[in-house]
């Protein structure tokens, strides 16, 4: 049981660090609040769905910005969508970058949009990696016979 306790402490510390660093916000807490007996893995399922859809959106954005004549309305629509989904899962930094990205779309600045896209990709990759580590910790706790601690 000492091992379970160790994992649980690691989980609590890691989760707190994600909030502290602004990787996730209150909406991520809300995903956990929406879990119940009929939907015990809701947060992980939605975030995993977000991973798949984000890859598609980032590919579309890359494609749209690499066109000779960039259609900024199309770019804007993808950014708008990405902001919506990232804010819905509590991916705070990704969401905040999308807000900046949107401003650059309005200015129709291709160069700055491309640079912003790079930042979005990096921030998204960081979010994905950290959340995957968190979900892995959760699995380890459950497999070791423990329960996932709730974070205040």
């Amino acid at each position: 049981m000492a091992y379970v306790g160790q994992l649980q402490r690691k989980f609590v510390e890691y989760t707190k660090s994600l909030y502290r660093e602004g990787i996730v916000d209150k909406q991520f807490t809300q995903l956990h609040n929406l879990q119940d007996e009929s939907n015990p893995d809701f947060a992980e399922e939605v975030v995993t769905l977000f991973f798949t859809d984000s890859q598609r959106l980032l590919n579309e954005l890359t494609n749209a910005l690499e066109q000779q004549d960039v259609d900024f309305n199309t770019v804007d629509a993808y950014v708008h969508q990405f902001k919506g989904s990232s804010s819905s899962v509590g991916a705070q930094r990704v969401k905040d970058l999308c807000i900046s990205f949107r401003t650059l779309c309005e200015q129709q600045n291709k160069e700055l949009c491309l640079r912003c896209l790079q930042q979005v990709k990096l921030e998204y990759a960081s979010f994905k990696s950290k959340l995957e580590s968190l979900f892995q910790l959760e699995k380890q706790i459950v497999e070791a016979g423990g329960t996932i601690p709730t974070i205040d």
Binding site: Q27, Q30, L31, N33, L34, D36, N39, F42, E45, V46, L49, F50, D53, A77, H80, Q81, F82, K83, G84, S85, S87, S88, V89, C98, I99, R102
Partner: protein, 149 residues
């Protein structure tokens, strides 16, 4: 169109004392991720929530006779966007509450939704505190689950 309206303005049939209360119903029109979160939130508020990811499927449901107390739709949908979909829902005779959602608040978006016939406009993610007053407007007897004795 038969069946395409909200339930007489959403009031539905409500309980006499001792009878079971009809749950409010909602249709969410949004991308799969946001839809799941919005539907889960509605279900946590004891609202039966259905989801589609495009306006065409919504119109099909309504034309088959389904009706809802509340429709929530995103401004960006594949094919027909949220603003146009709202206009079309009203033109079809849908009278229930319609709420528009967007990824980023823009005044033009707000006005476009309201002009199209929506009753409200919110930035994602929509919160319980924003939904509960709307649900109470739809049904004065509505009580969110946590507030029940």
């Amino acid at each position: 169109m038969e069946g395409a309206t909200g339930n007489n303005g959403g009031k539905g049939e409500h309980s006499k004392q001792g009878d079971s209360v009809r749950k409010l119903t909602a249709l969410v029109m949004d991308d799969p991720i946001c839809q799941r979160v919005e539907r889960a939130l509605l279900m946590s508020l004891d609202v039966e929530a259905h989801g589609v990811d495009n306006a065409h499927d919504a119109f099909k449901l309504l034309s088959e006779g389904r009706s809802f107390d509340l429709i929530i739709l995103c401004s960006i949908l594949p094919g027909i966007n949220g603003f146009m979909a709202t206009r079309m829902l009203r033109a079809m005779g849908v009278q229930c509450k319609i709420l528009g959602l967007c990824g980023l608040t823009v005044e033009q978006g707000r006005q476009a939704f309201l002009d199209a016939g929506a009753d409200g406009y919110y930035e994602k993610p929509i919160k319980a505190a924003q939904l509960i007053p709307i649900l109470k407007e739809i049904d004065p007897n509505y009580q969110p689950p946590n507030s029940r004795a």
